[in-house]
């Protein structure tokens, strides 16, 4: 049986990449000891000198990865929590995202920045954040956010092989929670492709990360009530599979966009706007966004955390409303 969880899928993929390509190396805080989530457990020993502890300085982790990628290495940077990537924002925005553009592709950066994002682990304000909206608004950076172990595997592979900077988002709540029989998983996917994970005629949900699982759970429940949902796993947020997004919206005419990030300025706005412009004639109802409230993500106490996060119940409730419209 080849059932693995998200963390195992990541660790194995990293191990393979280190074995297959000696330009690949890992850099980040505490990665030699295995990282705080153990994603790099055992790799320092198996690949001596190629798993490198960095000082506690995120701008340097990104900036040095840029230099190393430019030189010809294939760095995989780990930012311990997505919440701490902010100090590297400038290196990502001013530098990594523009390297190819400003040299017309003569200079380029095959680098990956992996980071655990999202909530549901009592991480409080600084160990729970969703950061995708900042980086999907940064042409030149790719942003990937899988939900299932097999996709973590194929997209991490693709990210390492990609000649561009890829922000690889790992939902920390799913690390050990979500398992999959990888052998029987759907075919490998590639960066820029979304997947219609479930088909139903009544409405279409869009999600990624933990929320994809909540959407699937809600859909299951709704099916029992006679409401059939289409669920789209976006997988890759930048580039976004706009065709699949529009097709899935047109299929049902009713759209529910779900994310864990706060509402205003969140990535859901982009999805909604695309649909409102390019699938307008097919719409039978207002485009509904379900997201966290506009407060700094996310309170620590479990009751407030639960209030903050969208979940199966909240999704099902929104979907019922929408279906009844």
């Amino acid at each position: 049986m080849a059932e693995v969880n998200v963390l195992e899928a990541i660790r194995e993929t990293l191990d393979e990449a280190l074995s297959e390509d000696d330009r690949v190396f890992i850099i980040g805080e505490d990665v030699e000891a295995g990282g705080v989530f153990r994603a790099t457990d055992g790799l320092a020993k198996r690949h001596p000198g190629r798993v490198k502890d960095s000082p506690l300085a995120e701008s340097s982790i990104i900036g040095i990865s840029i230099g190393a990628a430019h030189y010809g290495m294939r760095p995989i940077a780990e930012i311990q929590f997505a919440d701490f990537i902010h100090a590297g924002f400038d290196q990502l925005c001013s530098e990594a995202s523009r390297w190819s553009y400003r040299t017309k592709g003569e200079q380029y950066l095959p680098m990956v920045v992996r980071t655990p994002w999202g909530g549901g682990v009592h991480g409080g304000q600084h160990h729970s954040q969703s950061i995708e909206a900042y980086y999907t608004h940064m042409p030149g950076i790719k942003v990937v956010a899988p939900s299932f172990p097999a996709d973590y595997r194929s997209l991490l592979k693709a990210s390492i092989a990609d000649p561009n900077p890829v922000l690889f988002l790992e939902h920390k709540r799913t690390y050990r929670l979500v398992k999959q029989d990888v052998a029987n998983a759907p075919a490998e996917t590639s960066i820029g492709r979304a997947r219609i994970t479930r088909r139903g005629a009544d409405l279409t949900m869009f999600a990624y990360g933990l929320m994809l699982h909540e959407c699937l759970a809600a859909s299951e429940e709704l099916a029992g009530e006679g409401i059939e949902c289409t669920v789209v796993d976006l997988l890759s947020l930048q580039p976004l599979d706009v065709e699949t997004v529009l097709e899935a919206a047109r299929m049902t005419g009713k759209v529910l966009v779900v994310h864990e990030d706060t509402l205003t300025g969140g990535f859901g706005g982009e999805i909604a706007a695309l649909i409102a412009e390019h699938a307008f004639e097919y719409l039978d109802a207002p485009i509904r966004r379900l997201a966290a409230p506009d407060i700094p993500a996310m309170p620590y106490h479990h009751a407030m955390e639960a209030f903050f996060m969208p979940d199966k119940q909240k999704i099902a409730a929104a979907a019922r409303d929408l279906a009844a419209y």
Binding site: G124, Q125, Y300, A303
Partner: protein, 362 residues
Amino acid sequence: MGGYVGRRPARHAFDLRGRVSAMTTEERRQLSDAPVPNYHLSERQLERMYYYMRLSRSLNERMMALQRQGRAAFVIAGAGQEAAQVGAAMALRPGVDWLAPYYRDLGMNIVLGMTAREAMLNELAKADDPNSFGRQMPAHWGSVSRKIVTQSSVVATQLLHATGIALGAKMRNDPIVVLTCCGEGSTSRGDFHEALNFAAIHKLPVIFYVQNNGYAISEPTVKEMPVEHVADRGQAYGIRGQVVDGMDVVAVYQTLRPAVELTRRGNGPFLIEAKCYRLWAHSSDDDDTRYRPRKELEEWALKDPVVVFRQRLLEDGMFAEEELAEIDELVTQEVRDAVEWAQQMPDPKPEDALGYVYREVQ
């Protein structure tokens, strides 16, 4: 250290000062405010030092126990750094000077007036936690009345906040000092550099106090810096760097005290490194057996600052065993009370997640 009683809220069950006066039957135990030879501290100060350190450690122990029992989600503690924290905070003028601490600084908070009950409200993320009302993880301190600056989890950002406070104070001719703390690993961040650079250029009244506990999670100091001492980093800014034995509360106090007053008098910033040791794992989430040799830990455990200070007070004849045992017992009761009390206190309601994103325009 005026205002000692005033700073302890009335609901506090145990009043060390009350205990001390109850104890003064014997002439020799009339705790004096005069400096004791070899210590340059008064008996009263020494007793307080021990009490603060003991309370800090006991609170941390109890928090960890609660976490293991599943009654608290997360603990990050100051065990091993009590001397560094208590000695430094006692050099401040409470209610006057400012503190921009870091997560391990329970000991500093206690010196500045945090009660055991408040510490437990914080640990349990209760609705009345005065630091963040359950909005932040435990050990993210903050208090307006005690002049303790709110903080995030992002290390070293507070060094700039402290610098900004010092700038404001200097512009207003306000004779205060700002003490700000971080770990040695955090000195790798750009904000450390930018803060020291600015503070030195403008000769601001701020003390950068680095508690070098040997590790940044799993990374030993050599992975964070290419020089032996954090204090060496001061040379880049013409800032006096000082190293002090952070396991020795008296040495810490004696180093910080003149630095605080020199800084207050306009001599500009200090960079002080307290060499100490993280006796526990990084946090309740961390397993330090993966990276830290047990032997090293055992050696350092012999230097446990609370134990060593107790021993020294006894050996020097400053206090009798019973006297210290009485403090220990007092602390035990205080912590027990705090846990029982705090556990009954209300949790935040789900909707308490909302509000105060912006402060209302007056």
